[in-house]
């Protein structure tokens, strides 16, 4: 049993994780006729908490409660994985990535996320403004404007051979490449890295 847990605690390769994620699509369809998509949960929370009479948030969200259970499960899964299956070793990154990030001032590679960025002490700083406030806003605004995120378009939409989802996925990647390759360094310098 211990050996099994140790084996599970290693980082899982892509060819295990990818098919498992892909299987979420038929699983949700077959257990309840649900179309896979995660960013919709954000819309439902808005519809529940602050509908403010806006037509976009005025609908029967109770019917979509399954989506909120799903994301709650994702949070619990994250907790379980970290509590019982955590990898004791440092994250193994491509050498090139590690040296480029180190040059940007990200030097702590002990966890899954860089402590230089993702800590509460950064919340009320320019770093927090960039990485949490601005970044989060763009994720929420952009996914809703696009009508889906990586799950709804890149996985669900492409699985169903929907060309609008291919367009969306291409522009997700274009935005990501541009931010990483062009804007991230000056932005990080600006916030004090």
């Amino acid at each position: 049993m211990n050996e099994f847990m140790e084996w599970l605690s290693q980082p899982w390769p892509w060819y295990v994780a990818g098919p498992l994620i892909g299987l979420t699509v038929p699983a949700l369809l077959l257990i309840g006729n649900k179309t896979f998509g995660i960013s919709s949960s954000l819309r439902h929370v808005c519809a529940i908490c602050v509908p403010a009479g806006i037509p976009f948030f005025t609908y029967n969200w109770k019917k979509e409660a399954w989506n909120l259970m799903f994301v709650l499960g994702i949070g619990i899964g994250g907790f379980l994985a970290m509590s019982f299956l955590a990898d004791p070793n440092e994250i193994v990154l491509a050498d090139q990535t590690q040296s480029e990030l180190a040059a940007l001032g990200v030097t702590d590679f002990s966890g899954l996320m860089p402590a230089d960025i993702f800590s509460w002490s950064n919340v009320f700083t320019l770093k927090g403004l960039l990485f949490f406030v601005l970044g989060g806003f763009m994720v929420g605004f952009g996914t809703r404007y696009a009508g889906g995120c990586t799950s709804g378009h890149a996985i669900m939409g492409l699985s169903n051979l929907q060309w609008p989802s291919l367009v969306a996925t291409i522009f997700f990647m274009v935005g990501g490449f541009l931010m990483t390759q062009v804007f991230l360094e000056p932005l990080m310098r600006w916030v004090g890295f």
Partner: protein, 160 residues
């Protein structure tokens, strides 16, 4: 009756096409799938800001392998479901709504991509990051909710 009409108008991007209403314990199955999903997210390090950086710097195959093999699995599954007209456990025919093209998929998709590279997370991993102890990501989540709300508020004024 009014609610019913609203339901007809409402097109969610990840809709519930089941005709029967589900309540309470019936919703637990989605929680369980979510738990498995969250564990995979953490163990394959998809929630890691570093992995997203590797992907957008084209320095590792990992994320491309994950997304690529997920799509291949999804395509095969959906083809099987359609070909054999598979039914849900409650006996309903599986329905998969088509995605309709809008300009938002270009503009919004681009904006999301910019944010994805900053936060190192799309909406799914946000929840897994919080659960796995990076509680500061709650701030990112609140901000993502604000972004969603602002889109909803101005949806009819944006090019679409």
């Amino acid at each position: 009756m009014q609610v019913l009409e609203k339901d007809k108008e409402f097109i969610c991007d990840a809709p519930n096409s089941e005709k029967k209403e589900e309540r309470g314990l019936e919703l637990l199955k989605y929680l369980i799938i979510g738990v498995i999903f969250g564990i995979v997210f953490v163990k394959a390090e998809i929630i890691s800001w570093y992995r997203i950086q590797e992907m957008f710097r084209l320095q590792s195959f990992h994320m491309y392998g994950v997304i690529g093999s997920a799509v291949v699995t999804g395509v095969i599954s959906v083809q099987i479901i359609k070909r054999f007209k598979l039914k849900t456990i409650k006996g309903e025919l599986v329905q998969i709504p088509n995605k309709v093209f809008r300009k938002g998929q270009i503009i919004g998709g681009f904006i999301f991509g910019l944010g994805w590279a900053i936060t190192g997370a799309c909406p799914g991993p946000l929840f897994a990051q919080i659960g796995s102890g990076y509680t500061v990501v709650l701030v990112t989540l609140m901000s993502a909710l604000a972004g969603t709300w602002v889109y909803g508020k101005f949806a009819d004024k944006l090019p679409n």
